[in-house]
Symmetry: C2
Amino acid sequence: MQSAPSIQKLLDELERLPGIGPKSAQRMAYYILNTDSDAALRLAHAIEEVKDTVRFCTQCFNYAEADLCEICASPRRDKSAICVVSEPRDIPPIERTGVFDGVYHVLGGALSPMEGIGPEDLHVAELMGRLSSAEVNEVVIATNPNIEGETTATYLARLIGPLGILVTRPASGLPVGGDLEFADELTLGRAIEARREI
Amino acid sequence: MQSAPSIQKLLDELERLPGIGPKSAQRMAYYILNTDSDAALRLAHAIEEVKDTVRFCTQCFNYAEADLCEICASPRRDKSAICVVSEPRDIPPIERTGVFDGVYHVLGGALSPMEGIGPEDLHVAELMGRLSSAEVNEVVIATNPNIEGETTATYLARLIGPLGILVTRPASGLPVGGDLEFADELTLGRAIEARREI
């Protein structure tokens, strides 16, 4: 290819993004080349800023710009209900449903004997710490409705059950085997409202 | 939404990219958040570098990092054949076919009476300048096979004809009404090989 080296470099980097093939990368690169410098640099700076300022919430392991994420820091959130998710990306879809006003706990993955991921690789100990020190009434386990997510939910339910805390799971309605991240708001909202004890 | 401000800013900027909706932007943002800083900053720097170093070739108006683009500067390219295209993004698909070893001329658009775009808004004068000063035997007019592109091709053919230079156009085979940018290599290659005088 005859592209200028800097354009080729941009294409290479864009193609690394998830779901971006050569044609999409080319469209994006030409957009960046054509657009005014301000707009292009705003994107570059947004990437730099995010890598510079975003870290993990010390309490729930969601993405945060301070010690605590905006949800943990909010006085309006109900600290007696904790929703356990695998990844930070699972939080925005739940927030958009508007039916959960508690706080979160991000495990950082899911149990997977196949891949050798055990409880010690996840933020399970930190969750148990939160449950022992805070007045928590309910733990909603919103791990993905696939094998790893179900395994994780069952494991956590057994671990938390003896503490006398209600452990629930979003109701069926989520397509089995799918990713929670891509569920539509109505389905996910109904599933959380109809959550059941496990 | 509860996203950290810097994450929201990144999402906003990603959504400005062509073909990127909210869900794609979110996937890309979480990839950027999850990936190591080096990889994310390489993308940011590639955007900055491209805006910093890329300008237009003073001869053909393709993207370039020096006065001349890599094609105009190459001693291996046949300077007696000029392929006229609307935009720089039309050059890579033609290059990939491997059937054209001449040089290019980018018009910077196409004639459009509807949008008030006339010859004076395109690099037509510069093309005529190249034709009068250099030993050019053939001009291949590879504007898009849509109304504006055909109008531009006809206009240029009339303008160049009196100079005694062969004027050709890629053969049919390109889907009419489509964008040259997205043509597959085989079709586009055959169309250029079977180009006809107009």
